[in-house]
Symmetry: C2
Subunit: 334 residues, 2 copies
Amino acid sequence: MASIKEVARAAGVSTATVSRVLANSPHVRPALRERVLKAIKELEYRPNLIARSLRAQQTTTIGLIVSDIRNPFFTAISRAVEDTAYEEGYSLILCNTDEDPKKESIYLNVMRDANVAGVILSPTGPTAAGLRELEAGFAVVVIDRSIPDADVDMVLLDNVDSAYRLTRHLLENGYQRIAAICGERSTTGRERCAGYEQALRAYGLLPTAELVRFVPPQIEAGYAAALRLLDLPEPPEALLTTNSLLAAGALEAIRERGLRIPDEVALVTFDETTWASLVQPPITLIEQPTYEIGKTATELLLQRVAEPERPTRRVILKGRLLVRGSSAPRVRCG
Amino acid sequence: MASIKEVARAAGVSTATVSRVLANSPHVRPALRERVLKAIKELEYRPNLIARSLRAQQTTTIGLIVSDIRNPFFTAISRAVEDTAYEEGYSLILCNTDEDPKKESIYLNVMRDANVAGVILSPTGPTAAGLRELEAGFAVVVIDRSIPDADVDMVLLDNVDSAYRLTRHLLENGYQRIAAICGERSTTGRERCAGYEQALRAYGLLPTAELVRFVPPQIEAGYAAALRLLDLPEPPEALLTTNSLLAAGALEAIRERGLRIPDEVALVTFDETTWASLVQPPITLIEQPTYEIGKTATELLLQRVAEPERPTRRVILKGRLLVRGSSAPRVRCG
DNA sequence: GAGTATTTTGTAAACGATTTCAATATGATT
DNA sequence: AATCATATTGAAATCGTTTACAAAATACTC
């Protein structure tokens, strides 16, 4: 690989001039610029990004730390972040914490050590212990789950309202005994639960502790929680889960108990997936604007990198209710 | 951030000694080592990886270029690669080509510019144009799809045999008129098609051109191809697709035509997904050992980084046939 | 055409580590 | 105690850029 020195020699100029041509500085005579460009082309020169980063004390890489890469929601986010970052000339380092705060902390340090320009993080918990250890200057955008105490940019869903609308939809379709399986340890799960309870109250119903479960936001936990709910002496008429993995687990449980959807139990959830419209009946859900979340988060991050002192922002996006067969108007049995 | 110089000053030694302590060199007196370690701890010193990379002319980052991040197969691979890389002290740069050879070429250059130690690539086509432009020394492991002419390490599935077994399973269950929807432009699609045709021949049937479609390996294309097959004057009794996205599209088409599975049309595919066992009937498929593919690819890559001249290897892993309801023994109608 | 202002160019010092080589200290051997 | 071998240490070069500063070249003014 040719270096800037060789280009300089070939063009008969100093490395400073080559560097200026590279940076499109106006203070280079056209004749010289031509010579330099010619040398660059002939030697197939490409700047060494590491040297550049060392000098600039910053890379053109951003980090994305997701809490579960198996969750299609985060896959969609990754795609959007990668797209947007690439357009801006940044590449993406991806890490997966598997909902483990220790891994989160480790990866934040990895990011710091890699001198990434900034990090987009879906935190494993509402405090983000690892975040506080970082210097103040470290650019971070939090997505999906809020960290109430942290003064960082965030891109979130209107969780309370979305859950409210989802629950109201069930209530309006005649379901009364509605259970909720919520992701534990995240504000997202709590907020969606709050929206669910608000809707119940608005319709004159009292939330029952027995019908609300906080579990790890994963398939196995959704399956186990759903089984226990379905086995209750007085089982729920509808199940609301707060993400697609919990929904997959719940669906598995419903199938295992041989129950018909929605006659015997309705099912609604968050997050659009390939399968939600393929199962029968298709699943009613709140669709998140995943691409927009990822894109917005990346843009916020790059803005903060450019201007570290700007006031932090909190962008709240609206979910969209997609009504499908799994919550069809209830036909009273008996 | 403290630098090695400050540590050296604090410990009253030269930077060389600090560096030696860092590298666990045996040629440092215990007393000095203690002093250095103390200074490191007190200053919360962490080596600057960029400076290290510049000097070493190599990073501790590997690249993963996948052809479609929405495909759960590649999500699973990413997870495995990320896991394995992390264990070895490497981090992961992720890129998504969307089956676009241009993006592939661009990203390979991005990787080169980023001085990654090596790249794991699922190529968009069987020639990998971008690959040849790279210097010979660039460490690459190809996964999922082979590049017949390239002398690089590869981790692949036994595509022909897997497709053979999948098709044979259909034949043994009484299906005769079997259509195949294959991913175009990849050896994977071609090989799976070959296995399918071999099985037909082994059972005394002649492959029909009409029943074999090569399309982009994506949901929409699977949907369109399946619709056209189902609308044939003499529609197929079974559909075989070569990945889960094509299967999702095919299933959508089957649903749209209101056909029962497997009575009116059976469906089998490649790749396990969340939904394959949740739809009804659940889908018969060949499961790939995704975690092992990703892990093996990463290990091969790091071995090659350590020893660039070692002979290239081609690891072929076996797929596992999971028999489910979508291919239940055929009940002849009429 | 001399003097000044402006533009263009080059020199050399960073950035933060690793490593070669030489110098010094230590220990072993006689 | 002198000599030699060996183990420790440090000075300085290096990786490939960018950029502050100085120097040189050019343009402008009177």
